[in-house]
Protein backbone atom coordinates (compact mmCIF):
# COMPACT_ATOMS: atom_id res chain seq x y z
CA UNK A 1 0.00 0.00 0.00
CA UNK A 2 1.24 3.44 -0.88
CA UNK A 3 1.96 5.86 1.90
CA UNK A 4 -0.18 8.64 0.45
CA UNK A 5 -2.87 8.50 -2.19
CA UNK A 6 -1.49 9.69 -5.53
CA UNK A 7 -3.20 12.23 -7.78
CA UNK A 8 -2.23 13.46 -11.22
CA UNK A 9 -3.68 16.77 -12.40
CA UNK A 10 -2.98 17.98 -15.93
CA UNK A 11 -2.58 21.68 -16.67
CA UNK A 12 -1.93 22.36 -12.98
CA UNK A 13 0.24 25.45 -13.35
CA UNK A 14 -2.67 27.88 -13.14
CA UNK A 15 -6.38 28.31 -12.51
CA UNK A 16 -8.52 25.34 -11.54
CA UNK A 17 -5.69 22.81 -11.82
CA UNK A 18 -3.45 24.75 -9.48
CA UNK A 19 -6.20 25.34 -6.93
CA UNK A 20 -7.15 21.66 -6.93
CA UNK A 21 -3.50 20.60 -6.57
CA UNK A 22 -3.17 22.78 -3.51
CA UNK A 23 -6.44 21.62 -1.96
CA UNK A 24 -5.69 17.92 -2.49
CA UNK A 25 -2.19 18.25 -1.08
CA UNK A 26 -3.64 19.89 2.01
CA UNK A 27 -6.04 16.96 2.35
CA UNK A 28 -3.13 14.51 2.47
CA UNK A 29 -2.68 13.60 -1.17
CA UNK A 30 0.58 13.54 -3.05
CA UNK A 31 -0.17 15.50 -6.19
CA UNK A 32 1.68 15.37 -9.49
CA UNK A 33 0.78 18.61 -11.22
CA UNK A 34 1.64 18.81 -14.89
CA UNK A 35 2.72 21.88 -16.84
CA UNK A 36 3.62 22.30 -20.47
CA UNK A 37 5.98 25.23 -20.56
CA UNK A 38 8.85 25.64 -18.11
CA UNK A 39 8.37 29.41 -18.24
CA UNK A 40 4.91 29.11 -16.73
CA UNK A 41 5.62 26.48 -14.10
CA UNK A 42 6.56 28.95 -11.37
CA UNK A 43 3.28 28.79 -9.38
CA UNK A 44 3.62 25.00 -9.19
CA UNK A 45 7.24 25.17 -8.07
CA UNK A 46 6.23 27.61 -5.36
CA UNK A 47 3.53 25.22 -4.15
CA UNK A 48 5.97 22.31 -4.12
CA UNK A 49 8.15 24.05 -1.54
CA UNK A 50 5.53 23.81 1.18
CA UNK A 51 3.23 20.97 0.11
CA UNK A 52 3.46 17.46 -1.33
CA UNK A 53 3.08 18.73 -4.87
CA UNK A 54 5.45 17.53 -7.57
CA UNK A 55 5.68 19.59 -10.76
CA UNK A 56 5.76 17.29 -13.77
CA UNK A 57 6.46 18.32 -17.31
CA UNK A 58 3.88 17.01 -19.77
CA UNK A 59 2.56 18.25 -23.09
CA UNK A 60 -0.79 16.52 -23.62
CA UNK A 61 -0.45 17.28 -27.35
CA UNK A 62 2.46 14.86 -27.54
CA UNK A 63 1.97 11.11 -27.08
CA UNK A 64 5.61 10.55 -26.18
CA UNK A 65 5.59 13.34 -23.59
CA UNK A 66 2.48 11.89 -21.92
CA UNK A 67 3.93 8.39 -21.95
CA UNK A 68 7.20 9.54 -20.43
CA UNK A 69 5.59 11.58 -17.67
CA UNK A 70 3.15 8.85 -16.61
CA UNK A 71 5.93 6.23 -16.65
CA UNK A 72 7.97 8.50 -14.40
CA UNK A 73 5.15 8.72 -11.86
CA UNK A 74 4.50 4.98 -12.02
CA UNK A 75 8.16 4.08 -11.48
CA UNK A 76 8.19 6.16 -8.33
CA UNK A 77 4.75 5.47 -6.87
CA UNK A 78 3.67 2.13 -8.36
CA UNK A 79 0.15 3.44 -8.72
CA UNK A 80 -2.17 6.37 -9.41
CA UNK A 81 -5.46 6.82 -7.56
CA UNK A 82 -6.90 9.95 -9.09
CA UNK A 83 -6.59 11.55 -12.50
CA UNK A 84 -8.01 14.99 -13.17
CA UNK A 85 -8.00 15.66 -16.91
CA UNK A 86 -7.94 19.42 -16.66
CA UNK A 87 -5.56 20.68 -19.38
CA UNK A 88 -7.43 22.66 -22.02
CA UNK A 89 -7.95 26.04 -23.58
CA UNK A 90 -10.62 28.03 -25.40
CA UNK A 91 -10.58 28.61 -29.14
CA UNK A 92 -13.03 31.38 -29.90
CA UNK A 93 -14.34 32.60 -33.22
CA UNK A 94 -17.21 32.19 -35.64
CA UNK A 95 -17.02 28.84 -37.38
CA UNK A 96 -16.14 30.40 -40.71
CA UNK A 97 -13.27 32.38 -39.15
CA UNK A 98 -11.76 29.26 -37.61
CA UNK A 99 -9.33 27.45 -39.91
CA UNK A 100 -8.73 23.74 -40.23
CA UNK A 101 -5.48 24.13 -38.27
CA UNK A 102 -7.21 26.14 -35.51
CA UNK A 103 -9.89 23.50 -35.09
CA UNK A 104 -7.34 20.70 -34.99
CA UNK A 105 -5.26 22.53 -32.38
CA UNK A 106 -8.38 22.86 -30.22
CA UNK A 107 -9.18 19.14 -30.44
CA UNK A 108 -5.51 18.15 -30.08
CA UNK A 109 -5.43 19.48 -26.52
CA UNK A 110 -8.99 19.32 -25.23
CA UNK A 111 -9.98 15.91 -26.63
CA UNK A 112 -7.08 13.94 -28.09
CA UNK A 113 -4.86 15.07 -25.21
CA UNK A 114 -7.41 13.93 -22.66
CA UNK A 115 -7.61 10.55 -24.38
CA UNK A 116 -3.81 10.27 -24.49
CA UNK A 117 -3.52 10.73 -20.73
CA UNK A 118 -6.41 8.36 -20.02
CA UNK A 119 -4.88 5.72 -22.30
CA UNK A 120 -1.64 5.74 -20.29
CA UNK A 121 -3.25 5.77 -16.86
CA UNK A 122 -6.09 3.29 -17.36
CA UNK A 123 -3.82 0.20 -17.46
CA UNK A 124 -2.42 1.27 -14.08
CA UNK A 125 -5.89 1.78 -12.57
CA UNK A 126 -7.24 -1.44 -14.07
CA UNK A 127 -4.35 -3.39 -12.54
CA UNK A 128 -5.10 -1.79 -9.14
CA UNK A 129 -8.80 -2.46 -9.69
CA UNK A 130 -9.41 1.04 -8.37
CA UNK A 131 -9.05 4.65 -9.39
CA UNK A 132 -11.05 7.73 -10.20
CA UNK A 133 -10.92 9.84 -13.33
CA UNK A 134 -12.50 13.28 -13.41
CA UNK A 135 -12.66 14.85 -16.87
CA UNK A 136 -13.13 18.60 -16.94
CA UNK A 137 -15.99 19.40 -19.27
CA UNK A 138 -17.93 22.65 -19.39
CA UNK A 139 -21.44 24.02 -19.52
CA UNK A 140 -20.38 24.73 -23.11
CA UNK A 141 -20.56 20.96 -23.50
CA UNK A 142 -24.26 21.03 -22.64
CA UNK A 143 -25.34 23.89 -24.88
CA UNK A 144 -23.34 25.28 -27.79
CA UNK A 145 -22.90 29.02 -27.97
CA UNK A 146 -22.14 31.17 -31.01
CA UNK A 147 -18.48 32.28 -31.26
CA UNK A 148 -17.54 29.45 -28.89
CA UNK A 149 -18.40 26.74 -31.42
CA UNK A 150 -15.00 25.03 -31.52
CA UNK A 151 -14.64 25.04 -27.73
CA UNK A 152 -18.20 23.79 -27.26
CA UNK A 153 -17.51 21.07 -29.82
CA UNK A 154 -14.58 19.74 -27.79
CA UNK A 155 -16.60 19.83 -24.59
CA UNK A 156 -19.54 18.00 -26.21
CA UNK A 157 -16.95 15.35 -27.09
CA UNK A 158 -15.64 15.25 -23.51
CA UNK A 159 -19.17 14.75 -22.19
CA UNK A 160 -19.88 11.85 -24.50
CA UNK A 161 -16.45 10.22 -24.12
CA UNK A 162 -16.79 10.42 -20.34
CA UNK A 163 -20.15 8.64 -20.47
CA UNK A 164 -18.88 5.85 -22.73
CA UNK A 165 -15.66 5.43 -20.78
CA UNK A 166 -17.60 5.23 -17.54
CA UNK A 167 -19.61 2.31 -18.89
CA UNK A 168 -16.55 0.59 -20.36
CA UNK A 169 -14.23 0.64 -17.35
CA UNK A 170 -16.77 0.16 -14.57
CA UNK A 171 -16.21 -3.60 -14.46
CA UNK A 172 -12.49 -3.01 -13.89
CA UNK A 173 -13.24 -1.06 -10.72
CA UNK A 174 -12.38 2.31 -12.27
CA UNK A 175 -14.78 5.24 -11.93
CA UNK A 176 -15.12 8.05 -14.44
CA UNK A 177 -17.03 11.27 -14.02
CA UNK A 178 -17.30 14.73 -15.54
CA UNK A 179 -16.82 18.06 -13.83
CA UNK A 180 -18.98 20.72 -15.48
CA UNK A 181 -17.93 24.27 -14.57
CA UNK A 182 -19.06 27.49 -16.17
CA UNK A 183 -17.50 30.90 -15.53
CA UNK A 184 -14.94 30.48 -12.74
CA UNK A 185 -12.43 33.12 -11.69
CA UNK A 186 -9.48 31.98 -13.79
CA UNK A 187 -7.46 33.38 -16.67
CA UNK A 188 -9.36 31.30 -19.22
CA UNK A 189 -10.47 34.37 -21.19
CA UNK A 190 -7.00 35.92 -21.21
CA UNK A 191 -5.51 32.57 -22.22
CA UNK A 192 -8.05 31.98 -24.97
CA UNK A 193 -7.02 31.86 -28.60
CA UNK A 194 -8.86 33.17 -31.61
CA UNK A 195 -9.57 31.70 -35.01
CA UNK A 196 -7.25 32.74 -37.81
CA UNK A 197 -9.71 35.15 -39.45
CA UNK A 198 -11.45 36.38 -36.32
CA UNK A 199 -11.34 40.19 -36.21
CA UNK A 200 -9.75 40.36 -39.67
CA UNK A 201 -11.10 43.27 -41.73
CA UNK A 202 -12.45 41.01 -44.50
CA UNK A 203 -14.37 38.73 -42.15
CA UNK A 204 -18.14 39.37 -42.23
CA UNK A 205 -18.28 38.49 -38.53
CA UNK A 206 -15.79 41.01 -37.18
CA UNK A 207 -18.40 43.33 -35.70
CA UNK A 208 -20.14 40.39 -34.02
CA UNK A 209 -16.88 39.04 -32.66
CA UNK A 210 -16.13 42.40 -31.08
CA UNK A 211 -19.48 42.62 -29.38
CA UNK A 212 -19.04 39.05 -28.17
CA UNK A 213 -15.74 39.92 -26.51
CA UNK A 214 -17.44 42.68 -24.57
CA UNK A 215 -20.17 40.21 -23.61
CA UNK A 216 -17.65 37.62 -22.39
CA UNK A 217 -15.78 40.13 -20.24
CA UNK A 218 -19.10 41.24 -18.75
CA UNK A 219 -20.12 37.60 -18.04
CA UNK A 220 -16.83 36.88 -16.31
CA UNK A 221 -17.43 39.73 -13.88
CA UNK A 222 -19.98 37.38 -12.35
CA UNK A 223 -17.57 34.43 -12.31
CA UNK A 224 -17.70 32.14 -9.29
CA UNK A 225 -14.75 31.92 -6.91
CA UNK A 226 -12.44 29.03 -7.61
CA UNK A 227 -12.93 27.60 -4.11
CA UNK A 228 -16.50 26.71 -5.04
CA UNK A 229 -15.12 24.42 -7.73
CA UNK A 230 -12.47 22.99 -5.40
CA UNK A 231 -15.21 22.01 -2.98
CA UNK A 232 -17.04 20.13 -5.72
CA UNK A 233 -13.86 18.25 -6.69
CA UNK A 234 -13.27 17.23 -3.07
CA UNK A 235 -16.87 16.04 -2.87
CA UNK A 236 -16.41 13.96 -6.03
CA UNK A 237 -13.34 12.37 -4.43
CA UNK A 238 -15.22 11.42 -1.28
CA UNK A 239 -18.37 10.19 -3.06
CA UNK A 240 -18.61 6.39 -3.26
CA UNK A 241 -19.37 5.91 -6.08
CA UNK A 242 -18.91 9.18 -7.95
CA UNK A 243 -21.95 10.73 -9.58
CA UNK A 244 -22.21 10.80 -13.35
CA UNK A 245 -21.39 14.50 -13.53
CA UNK A 246 -20.73 17.35 -11.12
CA UNK A 247 -22.11 20.77 -11.88
CA UNK A 248 -20.70 23.67 -9.93
CA UNK A 249 -23.11 26.60 -9.82
CA UNK A 250 -26.81 26.60 -9.12
CA UNK A 251 -27.57 28.28 -12.44
CA UNK A 252 -25.64 25.54 -14.26
CA UNK A 253 -27.78 22.91 -12.55
CA UNK A 254 -30.85 24.84 -13.63
CA UNK A 255 -29.58 24.93 -17.20
CA UNK A 256 -28.84 21.18 -17.16
CA UNK A 257 -32.36 20.58 -15.96
CA UNK A 258 -33.93 22.89 -18.55
CA UNK A 259 -31.86 21.43 -21.37
CA UNK A 260 -33.19 18.00 -20.47
CA UNK A 261 -36.82 18.84 -20.18
CA UNK A 262 -37.47 21.71 -22.58
CA UNK A 263 -37.73 21.40 -26.36
CA UNK A 264 -34.46 22.27 -28.13
CA UNK A 265 -36.12 25.18 -29.95
CA UNK A 266 -36.94 26.89 -26.65
CA UNK A 267 -33.37 26.57 -25.41
CA UNK A 268 -32.16 28.03 -28.68
CA UNK A 269 -34.56 30.96 -28.41
CA UNK A 270 -33.26 31.58 -24.90
CA UNK A 271 -29.65 31.64 -26.05
CA UNK A 272 -30.47 33.78 -29.10
CA UNK A 273 -32.04 36.38 -26.81
CA UNK A 274 -28.61 36.78 -25.17
CA UNK A 275 -26.95 37.47 -28.52
CA UNK A 276 -28.93 40.22 -30.22
CA UNK A 277 -26.70 40.09 -33.32
CA UNK A 278 -27.81 36.49 -34.01
CA UNK A 279 -31.01 37.74 -35.60
CA UNK A 280 -32.69 36.75 -38.81
CA UNK A 281 -32.52 39.47 -41.50
CA UNK A 282 -35.66 41.59 -41.72
CA UNK A 283 -36.98 40.52 -45.09
CA UNK A 284 -35.37 37.13 -45.44
CA UNK A 285 -37.17 34.20 -46.98
CA UNK A 286 -35.53 30.98 -47.96
Amino acid sequence: MRELPIALITGANSGMGLACAEALAKKGWKVYGTYRSVKRAEPLRKLSKTLKVVPLRMDVDSASSVKKAVAQVYRKEKGIDFLMNNAGFVMAGFWEDVSDADLKAQFETNVFGLLRVAREILPIMRAQRSGKILNVGSVGGLVALPVLGPYSATKFAVRSLTDALRMEVKEFGVEVSELVPSEIQTAVVQNSRKGEKALSPDSPYTEFTKSYEAFAIERFKGAAPIQLLVKVVLKALSDQPMKRRYLVKFEDKALYFLKRFLPAGWIEAGIASQFPWCRWPRNGSN
Binding site: F94, W95, E96, D100, L103, K104, F107, V111, F112, L115, R116, A118, R119, L122, P123, R126, G141, V143, A144, L145, P146, V147, L148, G149, S152, A153, T154, K155, F156, A157, S160, L161, D163, A164, L165, M167, E168, V169, E171, P204, Y205, F208, K243, R244, R260, F261, A264, G265, E268, I271, A272, F275, W277, C278, R279, W280, P281, G284, S285, N286
Partner: protein, 227 residues
Protein backbone atom coordinates in the same frame (compact mmCIF):
# COMPACT_ATOMS: atom_id res chain seq x y z
CA UNK B 1 -18.19 14.49 -58.41
CA UNK B 2 -15.00 13.19 -56.79
CA UNK B 3 -14.44 14.69 -53.35
CA UNK B 4 -12.38 13.53 -50.37
CA UNK B 5 -13.60 15.44 -47.33
CA UNK B 6 -10.29 14.59 -45.61
CA UNK B 7 -8.41 16.75 -48.13
CA UNK B 8 -8.75 20.53 -48.11
CA UNK B 9 -7.58 20.86 -51.72
CA UNK B 10 -10.02 18.23 -52.94
CA UNK B 11 -12.92 19.99 -51.21
CA UNK B 12 -11.98 23.41 -52.58
CA UNK B 13 -11.41 22.12 -56.10
CA UNK B 14 -14.75 20.36 -56.29
CA UNK B 15 -16.71 23.26 -54.82
CA UNK B 16 -15.01 25.64 -57.24
CA UNK B 17 -15.78 23.52 -60.30
CA UNK B 18 -19.38 23.11 -59.14
CA UNK B 19 -19.75 26.86 -58.78
CA UNK B 20 -18.32 27.39 -62.24
CA UNK B 21 -21.13 25.27 -63.64
CA UNK B 22 -24.08 26.33 -61.50
CA UNK B 23 -23.14 29.69 -60.04
CA UNK B 24 -24.91 28.85 -56.78
CA UNK B 25 -25.35 26.27 -54.03
CA UNK B 26 -28.71 26.16 -52.29
CA UNK B 27 -28.36 23.06 -50.16
CA UNK B 28 -25.42 21.29 -48.55
CA UNK B 29 -25.99 17.84 -47.09
CA UNK B 30 -22.99 16.87 -44.97
CA UNK B 31 -23.40 13.12 -45.14
CA UNK B 32 -19.89 11.64 -45.51
CA UNK B 33 -18.88 9.72 -42.42
CA UNK B 34 -18.06 6.35 -40.95
CA UNK B 35 -18.14 4.59 -37.60
CA UNK B 36 -15.14 3.60 -35.49
CA UNK B 37 -15.76 0.69 -33.15
CA UNK B 38 -13.75 -0.34 -30.11
CA UNK B 39 -12.97 0.46 -26.48
CA UNK B 40 -11.88 4.05 -25.87
CA UNK B 41 -8.74 2.98 -24.02
CA UNK B 42 -7.63 0.84 -26.95
CA UNK B 43 -7.88 3.37 -29.77
CA UNK B 44 -4.48 4.56 -30.91
CA UNK B 45 -3.83 8.23 -31.46
CA UNK B 46 -3.90 7.67 -35.23
CA UNK B 47 -7.23 5.84 -35.06
CA UNK B 48 -8.81 8.66 -33.05
CA UNK B 49 -7.58 11.26 -35.52
CA UNK B 50 -8.75 9.31 -38.57
CA UNK B 51 -12.30 9.18 -37.15
CA UNK B 52 -12.33 12.91 -36.43
CA UNK B 53 -10.71 13.78 -39.76
CA UNK B 54 -13.77 12.65 -41.70
CA UNK B 55 -16.71 13.03 -39.33
CA UNK B 56 -15.75 16.42 -37.87
CA UNK B 57 -12.91 18.20 -39.65
CA UNK B 58 -14.21 17.00 -43.05
CA UNK B 59 -17.70 18.28 -42.34
CA UNK B 60 -16.30 21.68 -41.39
CA UNK B 61 -14.02 21.77 -44.46
CA UNK B 62 -16.98 21.40 -46.82
CA UNK B 63 -19.10 23.81 -44.79
CA UNK B 64 -16.36 26.44 -44.81
CA UNK B 65 -16.02 26.04 -48.60
CA UNK B 66 -19.70 26.68 -49.36
CA UNK B 67 -20.46 29.38 -46.79
CA UNK B 68 -19.12 32.40 -48.74
CA UNK B 69 -21.42 31.45 -51.62
CA UNK B 70 -24.48 31.00 -49.42
CA UNK B 71 -23.77 34.26 -47.64
CA UNK B 72 -23.53 36.21 -50.87
CA UNK B 73 -26.76 34.56 -52.08
CA UNK B 74 -28.41 35.60 -48.83
CA UNK B 75 -29.89 32.12 -48.56
CA UNK B 76 -28.96 28.48 -48.13
CA UNK B 77 -29.59 25.35 -46.12
CA UNK B 78 -27.08 23.07 -44.45
CA UNK B 79 -28.18 19.61 -43.31
CA UNK B 80 -25.64 17.81 -41.14
CA UNK B 81 -26.18 14.09 -40.93
CA UNK B 82 -25.73 13.30 -37.26
CA UNK B 83 -26.98 10.24 -35.49
CA UNK B 84 -28.95 9.08 -32.50
CA UNK B 85 -25.41 8.52 -31.15
CA UNK B 86 -25.13 12.31 -31.01
CA UNK B 87 -27.39 12.16 -27.95
CA UNK B 88 -26.63 8.83 -26.34
CA UNK B 89 -23.54 6.66 -26.16
CA UNK B 90 -22.55 3.16 -25.19
CA UNK B 91 -19.56 0.88 -24.71
CA UNK B 92 -17.80 0.28 -28.04
CA UNK B 93 -19.28 3.25 -29.88
CA UNK B 94 -17.77 5.90 -27.60
CA UNK B 95 -15.42 7.42 -30.15
CA UNK B 96 -17.93 7.43 -33.03
CA UNK B 97 -20.57 8.80 -30.73
CA UNK B 98 -18.30 11.62 -29.59
CA UNK B 99 -17.92 12.77 -33.22
CA UNK B 100 -21.71 12.84 -33.54
CA UNK B 101 -22.04 14.83 -30.30
CA UNK B 102 -19.62 17.26 -31.91
CA UNK B 103 -21.81 17.42 -35.02
CA UNK B 104 -24.62 18.49 -32.71
CA UNK B 105 -22.44 21.20 -31.17
CA UNK B 106 -21.51 22.46 -34.64
CA UNK B 107 -25.15 22.45 -35.75
CA UNK B 108 -26.36 24.27 -32.62
CA UNK B 109 -23.79 27.06 -32.83
CA UNK B 110 -23.85 27.41 -36.64
CA UNK B 111 -27.63 27.81 -36.55
CA UNK B 112 -27.20 30.94 -34.47
CA UNK B 113 -24.12 32.27 -36.24
CA UNK B 114 -25.69 32.09 -39.69
CA UNK B 115 -29.06 33.64 -38.85
CA UNK B 116 -28.07 37.15 -39.97
CA UNK B 117 -27.21 35.72 -43.41
CA UNK B 118 -30.51 33.91 -43.73
CA UNK B 119 -28.83 30.50 -43.82
CA UNK B 120 -30.60 27.64 -42.05
CA UNK B 121 -28.83 24.72 -40.41
CA UNK B 122 -30.20 21.48 -38.99
CA UNK B 123 -29.16 17.98 -37.95
CA UNK B 124 -30.67 14.85 -39.48
CA UNK B 125 -30.42 12.13 -36.83
CA UNK B 126 -31.03 8.58 -37.98
CA UNK B 127 -31.20 5.63 -35.62
CA UNK B 128 -30.39 2.19 -36.98
CA UNK B 129 -30.75 2.24 -40.77
CA UNK B 130 -30.24 -0.74 -43.02
CA UNK B 131 -27.33 0.51 -45.15
CA UNK B 132 -23.80 -0.55 -45.89
CA UNK B 133 -22.78 1.34 -42.73
CA UNK B 134 -21.74 -2.07 -41.43
CA UNK B 135 -19.13 -2.32 -44.21
CA UNK B 136 -18.02 1.21 -43.42
CA UNK B 137 -17.52 0.37 -39.79
CA UNK B 138 -13.89 0.11 -38.79
CA UNK B 139 -13.00 -1.89 -35.71
CA UNK B 140 -9.89 -0.71 -33.95
CA UNK B 141 -6.80 -2.89 -34.28
CA UNK B 142 -6.97 -4.15 -30.69
CA UNK B 143 -10.47 -5.56 -31.17
CA UNK B 144 -9.90 -6.82 -34.71
CA UNK B 145 -6.85 -8.79 -33.58
CA UNK B 146 -8.84 -10.42 -30.81
CA UNK B 147 -6.57 -8.86 -28.19
CA UNK B 148 -9.10 -6.52 -26.62
CA UNK B 149 -9.55 -6.63 -22.87
CA UNK B 150 -13.09 -5.50 -23.53
CA UNK B 151 -13.67 -8.22 -26.16
CA UNK B 152 -16.68 -9.87 -24.59
CA UNK B 153 -18.85 -6.79 -24.21
CA UNK B 154 -17.77 -5.38 -27.57
CA UNK B 155 -18.68 -8.62 -29.33
CA UNK B 156 -22.10 -8.48 -27.70
CA UNK B 157 -22.70 -4.88 -28.78
CA UNK B 158 -21.55 -5.67 -32.32
CA UNK B 159 -23.83 -8.69 -32.70
CA UNK B 160 -26.77 -6.81 -31.26
CA UNK B 161 -26.18 -3.95 -33.68
CA UNK B 162 -26.02 -6.28 -36.67
CA UNK B 163 -29.22 -8.08 -35.67
CA UNK B 164 -31.05 -4.77 -35.31
CA UNK B 165 -29.64 -3.34 -38.51
CA UNK B 166 -30.90 -6.31 -40.55
CA UNK B 167 -34.46 -5.45 -39.49
CA UNK B 168 -34.05 -1.67 -39.62
CA UNK B 169 -35.75 0.54 -42.21
CA UNK B 170 -33.84 1.40 -45.38
CA UNK B 171 -32.14 4.68 -46.34
CA UNK B 172 -35.29 5.82 -48.19
CA UNK B 173 -36.68 6.80 -44.80
CA UNK B 174 -33.78 9.23 -44.27
CA UNK B 175 -34.31 10.65 -47.76
CA UNK B 176 -37.97 11.26 -46.93
CA UNK B 177 -37.08 13.16 -43.76
CA UNK B 178 -34.47 15.22 -45.61
CA UNK B 179 -37.11 16.10 -48.20
CA UNK B 180 -39.45 17.18 -45.44
CA UNK B 181 -36.72 19.33 -43.84
CA UNK B 182 -36.03 21.02 -47.19
CA UNK B 183 -39.71 21.85 -47.56
CA UNK B 184 -40.18 23.20 -44.06
CA UNK B 185 -40.26 26.97 -44.23
CA UNK B 186 -38.10 27.22 -41.14
CA UNK B 187 -36.15 24.06 -40.42
CA UNK B 188 -36.47 22.54 -36.97
CA UNK B 189 -33.39 22.17 -34.71
CA UNK B 190 -33.13 18.47 -35.55
CA UNK B 191 -34.92 15.68 -37.40
CA UNK B 192 -34.71 12.24 -35.78
CA UNK B 193 -35.28 9.36 -38.22
CA UNK B 194 -36.82 6.12 -36.96
CA UNK B 195 -38.46 5.12 -33.70
CA UNK B 196 -35.18 4.22 -31.95
CA UNK B 197 -33.78 7.66 -32.76
CA UNK B 198 -36.65 9.10 -30.73
CA UNK B 199 -36.87 6.49 -27.98
CA UNK B 200 -33.31 6.36 -26.57
CA UNK B 201 -32.74 10.13 -26.28
CA UNK B 202 -36.22 10.34 -24.76
CA UNK B 203 -35.54 7.89 -21.92
CA UNK B 204 -32.17 9.47 -21.28
CA UNK B 205 -33.84 12.84 -20.94
CA UNK B 206 -36.72 11.79 -18.78
CA UNK B 207 -35.34 9.01 -16.58
CA UNK B 208 -33.35 10.10 -13.54
CA UNK B 209 -29.57 9.48 -14.04
CA UNK B 210 -29.45 6.61 -11.57
CA UNK B 211 -32.38 4.80 -13.15
CA UNK B 212 -30.98 5.27 -16.65
CA UNK B 213 -27.67 3.83 -15.48
CA UNK B 214 -29.50 0.81 -14.04
CA UNK B 215 -31.21 0.26 -17.40
CA UNK B 216 -27.83 0.49 -19.13
CA UNK B 217 -26.29 -1.93 -16.60
CA UNK B 218 -29.03 -4.39 -17.45
CA UNK B 219 -28.48 -4.03 -21.19
CA UNK B 220 -24.76 -4.34 -20.55
CA UNK B 221 -25.08 -7.59 -18.61
CA UNK B 222 -27.25 -9.05 -21.37
CA UNK B 223 -24.65 -8.20 -23.99
CA UNK B 224 -21.98 -9.93 -21.95
CA UNK B 225 -24.01 -13.07 -21.53
CA UNK B 226 -25.08 -13.15 -25.16
CA UNK B 227 -21.54 -13.32 -26.52
Amino acid sequence: MPLDVDQTTSVQKTVRSLLKKTGRIDVLINNAGWGAFGAIEEFTDAEVKAQYETNVFGLMRVTRAVLPTMRSQGSGRILNVGSVAGHITFAGIGLYSSTKHVVNAITESLRLELRPFNIQVTAIEPGQIHTRFKDNRRQNIAFKNGKSLYGKILQGVLEYGDRKSAKAPGPEMVAKVIWKALNDRRMSTSYPVGSDARFYPFIQRFLPDLLYDRVMDFVYSRFKRAS
